[in-house]
């Protein structure tokens, strides 16, 4: 079967797939290969966690979904349509995007930050206002206290909640999260993971979540995609990671258990 035919078949057979990668590669102009022949699908309502070490290609994968990057080979499809055929602006407004805390606009209040996409979409200001209050409540921030604050006046955990609220603002079907909790202390991090998980059960969004933290992956993932050197070495439910014999999968699985004080017996 030709590759083209294969792609067609996928479209027809699996229309419930919100995101699909078909033999996707991404190569820098200088010839360095960041992603090699990547294949994956994300179903509606599913949370796929891309797990891997720093520099493994997780973030690149994510940027191919909202067309911050275009694949140099293969095809990325969102809702059945190749990203190259999407208007990038329209595509991105259908996809919520959360990056590490730095992504908030320092010159805007929380109201301004959370309301960015609705404003771009031309919502009425009253509707934006009530939506911002609804979202702040959803992520556990009291709107009365927070709407007119600036990002610098918040703690790291609060900022991250705002980041999530901002991504949800225009009710996009897909949300991308790039190490959203990476810079937080372990306790705040754990609280947010739990809350995020409850949120996800309520909202049923299609999510792609990038992390290098295997515990986080286990808390949040429907499926885990393990990325190493630009290749997908494992794609399946968390239990598969524990059973795998792949050395990279073993290395990450081991991290789950190793937390003993120095000097105590293994």
């Amino acid at each position: 079967m030709s590759r083209h035919g294969h792609v067609k078949n996928l479209t027809q057979m699996e229309s419930s797939k919100t995101i699909e990668f078909c033999h996707v590669s991404y190569e820098l102009p200088d010839g360095k290969i960041l992603l090699k022949d990547l294949n994956l699908e994300v179903s509606r309502g599913e949370t796929l966690v891309l797990l891997g070490r720093s520099g493994s290609g997780k973030t690149t994968t994510m940027k191919l979904i909202n067309r911050l990057l275009d694949p140099t080979a293969g095809e990325v499809r969102v809702e059945g349509r190749s990203t190259l055929h999407w208007d990038p602006i329209r595509l991105r407004r259908r996809i919520g995007y959360v990056i590490q805390e730095v992504g908030l606009f320092p010159h805007l209040t929380l109201e301004g930050n959370v309301g960015v996409v609705p404003r771009l979409e031309g919502w009425e200001s009253e509707r934006i206002k009530s939506r911002v209050r609804e979202l702040l409540t959803l992520v556990g921030l009291d709107p009365e206290r927070f709407v007119s604050r600036f990002p610098r006046e918040l703690s790291g955990g609060q900022r991250q909640r705002v980041g999530v609220a901002r991504a949800l603002a225009a009710d996009p079907p897909v949300i991308l999260l790039d190490e959203p909790f990476g810079a937080l202390d372990p306790i705040t991090r754990r609280d947010l993971q739990q809350e995020f998980r409850r949120l996800q059960e309520r909202l049923r969004k299609t999510m792609v979540f990038v992390t290098h933290d295997v515990r986080e992956a286990f808390v949040l993932a429907t499926r885990i995609g393990l990325v190493k050197d630009g290749r997908m070495v494992l794609l399946g439910p968390p239990s598969e990671l524990l059973e795998s014999t792949d050395p990279e999968a073993r290395a990450f699985a081991d991290c789950l258990y190793e937390a003993q004080p120095v000097g105590s017996p293994a």
Binding site: R92, V102, P106, H107, V117, R152, E153
Partner: protein, 521 residues
């Protein structure tokens, strides 16, 4: 008279000059912002352009202002019927000031936008902002503090440079500075420099606090945005008003009388202006105080119609010709070449020469019977001489002079020309080379020795007129003929002294003189 006395006594004029100055600065920085910010933004979108554009702006900053004026005056750039560049006056000054203040604005816009945290930019793009939305909603607001810092630097540069604008009749506090330099009057210099320094400081503090408010962000952010919006709108309004003000529709037929930037020239400009005004139906616009060779350039560009030039200066400095030995020969050769090259006519000589005058004390001249420069050469071995830097360095200066007459001084003191007269009177030196028309010659009772070997080229003062003016108003020719031989060198000295020494207005001095000569009624 102390500076404070002067400022109080002349408060109206001081206020007027300050307003002129502020006006120049406002319009120039306003236009520079309107050009520089979009250009800086363009550079962030087309990084390849950044080197040539920033390089150009950099070079503009290093061009000396008088050279830049000299380059701009002959230009004729029109947009529809509006002359954008060229000529003398505020228009050209503003173009020059804009060129000077562009660099910090372009550079800070470019840097301000480029130093926005890439993660923030990516968040904006990832949320589906178009390039324009990203620019106006994220990049510009975040770069605003840095951009304002650039505007602040540009404004301060502009306040300083605007003082030079007085050299091309653009007004402002530079008028006092130039007048003070010319008359060797420190109070006048300070009367221009001190208010200019205060304006610069005030602009610096005001824009500095705006910048700080913006950088502090947080609570004052919204208010700061409003202030910035309001001030940009305000500057734009002033700029538009200024453009309308400075580009009046052509139509009023006035004879534009020019002058160079020293006292004698202003007196002569007044002399021409009042003589022309005395004719019924003729109106005059005074464009005085043009520095360097700007008066000549303004005449060629048609910005002024008439001014007084000196034959020797025209030959050596403008036409750059070697010297013939005969005075009438110089007159006829510059006359011929001006008609051919510049469509300008040398009219009748006014009767005096402004040349180097070899001067001694009156008592020495009487005691030793000195009449000519040759007479004095005999005594030079026991004498000390005082010469200005100009005389020591120029082609028709000291070296040839000493060789021609065989001077060998005991000592030569090089000092500022204006100080040599006093040094001679106070017996610090025994012979100086001054200006033949300087009022101080009469004041100190000095005697000019005759240049019997005709070493110095003739510097006859002659009104030079554009051919086009004579065609438009043939009666001007008769006015010029009437001025022929009107002023002896002694009379010119007296008029110079009345303005420089007695601090009288050139306009009043000239009026009195013309009345006395029966030229005015």
């Amino acid at each position: 008279m102390s500076l404070l006395d002067f400022l109080v006594r002349n408060q109206r004029e001081v206020l007027e000059l300050i307003l002129e100055h502020l006006f120049l600065v406002f319009i120039s920085t306003g236009i520079a912002v309107l050009i520089g910010v979009p250009l800086g933004i363009l550079l962030t979108r087309r990084p390849g352009l950044s080197k040539p554009v920033l390089g150009f702006a950099n070079v503009m900053q290093t061009v000396p202002s008088l050279a830049l004026f000299g380059f701009l005056i002959p230009l004729n750039l029109y947009l529809f019927h509006v002359r954008l560049v060229g000529g003398i006056g505020a228009r050209t000054a503003i173009v020059a000031l804009v060129l000077y203040s562009l660099l910090p604005i372009i550079r800070n816009t470019f840097i301000g936008i480029n130093t926005v945290d890439p993660a923030i930019r990516e968040a904006g793009r990832g949320m589906g902002m178009t390039d324009r939305q990203l620019l106006f909603q994220v990049e510009l607001p975040l770069a605003l503090g840095v951009i304002i810092a650039g505007v602040r630097v540009a404004t301060v540069i502009c306040v300083g440079t605007a003082t030079i604008a007085a050299a091309i009749d653009a007004g402002g506090l530079g008028r006092y500075i130039f007048r003070g330099l010319r008359m060797n009057d420190n109070v006048l210099i300070l009367a221009g420099a001190v208010p200019a320094a205060f304006i610069a400081l005030a602009a610096d503090v005001l824009l500095g606090s705006l910048e700080k408010a913006i950088r502090a962000g947080a609570g004052v952010r919204r208010r700061a945005n409003k202030i910035v919006g309001a001030s940009i709108a305000g500057v734009a309004v002033v700029a538009v008003a200024g453009v309308i003000f400075f580009y009046p529709a052509a139509g009023t037929d006035r004879v534009a009388v020019g002058s160079k930037d020293f006292t004698e020239q202003i007196i002569l400009g007044e002399l021409l202006a009042q003589s022309i005004e005395a004719k019924p139906g003729l109106k005059v616009a005074r464009r005085f105080d043009l520095g360097g060779t700007l008066a000549h350039e303004a005449l060629v560009a048609g910005e002024i119609d008439i001014y007084v030039e000196y034959t020797g200066t025209a030959l050596l400095a403008i036409l750059k010709r070697p010297l013939p030995k005969d005075g009438t020969e110089v007159y006829s050769s510059v006359k011929e070449e001006y008609e051919r090259r510049f469509d300008a006519v040398w009219t009748e000589p006014l009767g005096f020469e402004n040349t180097f005058a070899i001067l001694v004390r009156g008592e020495d001249a009487r005691r030793l019977g000195l009449k000519t420069v040759s007479d004095a050469a005999k005594f030079s071995a026991q004498w000390r001489a005082g010469f200005g830097q100009d005389f020591m360095s120029r082609a028709d200066g000291y070296r040839g002079f000493a060789r021609t007459y065989g001077f060998k001084f005991q000592e030569i003191r090089e000092m500022d020309l204006s100080l040599t007269y006093r040094a001679l009177a106070e017996r610090q030196v025994d012979l100086i080379a001054g200006n033949s028309t300087d009022g101080l010659i009469t004041r100190y009772g000095l005697v000019q020795l005759q240049d019997d070997r005709r070493y110095f080229p003739p510097y006859d003062a002659v009104p030079v007129v554009r051919q086009a003016l004579l065609e438009r108003h043939p009666e001007i020719r008769a006015v010029m003929q009437d001025l022929r031989g009107l002023l002896s060198v002694e009379e010119m000295r007296r008029l110079n002294y009345q303005v420089d020494g007695e601090q009288r207005q050139a306009r009043a001095v000239v009026r009195e003189f013309l009345l006395a000569k029966g030229k005015l009624k």
